[in-house]
């Protein structure tokens, strides 16, 4: 009961502050034209290439990611769209891979995973002591879930940016050196 009171007080306190914003929002609603909205399935990864390897920051929607992680680990899909780090890493390593120029798989080390509301952010590091020349990337995240899944990787290397696009069945793509 005490907790409810606190929440109520909090809500009432916020109400005045929200009023101004709500007014602006409702004005925005009023001017809104037809939005360009369609459901699309996508993940976005930023890859930063340096002298000794590549750091990947993957951003994915929590509900899909959680379901895929659970399925690949033989568990039930959690109701809260969570994904335990060890399970998540196993799943990501199975569907996201880096290969050296000679085709050898590179070990991906987890450098962070966090949930922010409906998103998961996964950080991975691929060590390439000989440099990334000739290295390739495979990204099949969530393609087992959605036939229209598009995985975008923005690669930043030597001050240049290059985009790589992955869909179901895409061959590994060369990472810029």
């Amino acid at each position: 009961m005490k907790r409810l009171d606190v929440i109520k007080r909090l809500a009432v306190k916020r109400l005045a502050a929200m009023k101004r914003v709500a007014g602006a929002l409702l004005l925005a609603m009023g001017v809104a034209g037809v939005a360009e909205a369609h459901a699309l399935h996508t993940t976005m990864t930023v890859a930063k290439v340096d002298a000794t390897g590549v750091t990947f920051n993957i951003r994915t929607f929590a509900d899909d990611f959680s379901a895929s992680v659970a399925q690949s680990n033989g568990r039930r899909t959690p109701a809260d769209s969570s994904a335990p780090a060890p399970d998540a890493l196993r799943y990501v390593r199975a569907r996201f891979a880096v290969f050296t120029a000679s085709g050898a798989p590179v070990d991906l080390v987890l450098c962070g995973i966090r949930r922010q509301a409906e998103m998961y952010f996964v950080c991975l590091r691929a060590s390439l002591p000989q440099g990334s020349t000739g290295a390739r990337l495979r990204n099949e995240l969530l393609t087992e879930r959605h036939a229209d899944q598009v995985n975008i990787v923005k690669v930043e290397s030597g001050g240049k940016t290059q985009m790589l696009m992955f869909t179901k069945g895409s061959a590994p793509a060369r990472l810029p050196a």
């Binding site: 916020r14 925005a28 939005a35 459901a39 750091t55 509301a117 598009v150």
Partner: protein, 415 residues
């Protein structure tokens, strides 16, 4: 990168605190790339846009707490609906549109009377999902209840325009002429004027509304940027690419990571045959929000530069991304597919099906263009006549009409 992301989370927390939000740090989600946030300086317009976006998450959280205290509160449900709709507009998230609709319906179940604003939210959420007949029903409810409010009539006019019900659209738009300077009315009326070949009046009206929006403190930055985009689009259709560029850049000065404006710059650059710029703008847009039409624009730019492998990659991704769409394709995506000879029969079938319920001139144009691409120019000509029935001065319509006419002439000459 990881370290930078943590730094950003801290920065966001600071902004949230300054903005009077909840202490817990948050992160801009939905179509906002982490690196985009990382680059955001904490001063000037961009900081305002940044804090506005971060604030949206906080607002949603607060109203959810309010809702937890009273699960049938029409006010809390209505506010959550409006907030999700706004966040969707800022980030283009599909789930947010669905949540906006869900909350709005629950709010209206709780309270029908004095809840017209939620009806507006519901109608907007349905419009965004391209569920036009349902959006029209809701807009009609609004006008029935409050016939004196011009914004509601303008909303119904807009939905009617989208459905090709130009009689209703005309009636509604005529009725709001006196209130034409209102920000909720002006852009809709301007579009109506433009459709009906009153380009000069449409331009004046839209520019005045844009100036008004820019000068007001109660208008969200996303909305200000949207006005610049509308001005830019109109300038481009009127054959003034420089003015369009000025407007798009002004919008980007307000919202530097607005994917719609970045994509507009890509299309503009393609039109000016500045293909390297088109690739840069387009890829910036895609890194924030995947849009098949932008994939097509970047693919075109690569193709024009002779990089066929990269162009193929983009066109293939475009095809895959639209492949599972249950309803009609987005018009711009359909045109890209047709222009590249992709999925012509599929686009034709979907566009023809959509025309049963949505009979606007762009629907007729799409069917005409699909028929033309399918090698059926005579049928295409019939549909194109319907597309041109308002004499809309849109270069896209004119280009299609010319091509179909030429094909018909050639066919007659060959016979």
């Amino acid at each position: 990168m990881h370290r930078r992301m943590n730094v950003v989370a801290g920065a966001v927390a600071a902004v949230v605190l300054i903005g009077g939000g909840i202490v817990a740090p948050t992160f801009i989600r939905r179509a906002r790339a982490p690196e985009a946030a990382a680059l955001a300086p904490v001063h000037g317009t961009r900081a305002n846009a940044f804090s506005e976006l971060a604030e949206r998450d906080v607002q949603i959280r607060v109203w959810r707490q309010a809702l937890a205290a009273d699960s049938t509160s029409a006010l809390a449900l209505g506010q959550l609906a409006a907030l999700h709709l706004q966040r969707a507009r800022e980030g283009g998230s599909w789930d947010d549109y669905l949540q906006a609709e869900g909350y709005a319906r629950r709010s209206l179940t709780s309270r029908v009377q004095r809840n017209e604003r939620t009806l507006v939210t519901l109608s907007s959420a349905l419009l965004a999902q391209h569920r036009f007949p349902e959006a029209r029903d809701v807009a009609m409810q609004l006008v029935d209840r409050e016939p004196d409010i011009p914004q509601y009539r303008a909303l119904l006019g807009e939905v009617a325009m989208e459905l090709g019900d130009y009689t209703t659209a005309g009636r509604m738009m005529d009725s709001v002429w006196k209130e034409r300077t209102h920000l909720s009315v002006a852009p809709r009326l301007a579009r109506w004027l433009e459709l009906n070949n009153h380009e000069r009046e449409a331009r004046q009206l839209l520019m005045a509304a844009r100036d008004d929006a820019l000068s007001r403190r109660d208008v969200a930055l996303e909305t200000k940027a949207w006005f610049e985009m509308r001005v830019g689009d109109q300038e481009l259709r009127a054959g003034r690419p420089r003015a369009a560029e000025t407007a798009y850049r002004a919008g980007l000065a307000i919202a530097p990571d607005d994917p719609r404006l970045l994509a507009a710059m890509a299309r503009l650059a393609n039109g000016q045959r500045d293909f390297p710029a088109a690739i840069i703008w387009g890829e910036r847009a895609i890194a924030i929000q995947l849009d098949p039409a932008t994939l097509g624009a970047v693919g075109d730019a690569y193709a024009a530069r002779g990089d066929t492998a990269k162009a193929r990659e983009y066109f293939h991704t475009l095809e895959v991304s639209v492949s599972a769409q249950p309803g009609p394709y987005h018009r711009a995506w359909s045109l890209y597919l047709l222009d590249h000879g992709l999925r012509v029969d599929e686009v034709l079938a979907k566009a023809t099906d959509e025309l049963r319920t949505r009979k606007d001139i762009y629907g007729y144009d799409l069917v005409a263009w699909a028929l033309f691409k399918a090698g059926r120019p005579a049928e295409a000509a019939t549909f194109m006549r319907d597309a041109m029935r308002l004499a809309t001065p849109d270069p896209l319509l004119q280009r299609h009409a010319r091509a179909i006419e030429q094909a018909m002439s050639l066919r007659i000459a060959t016979r």
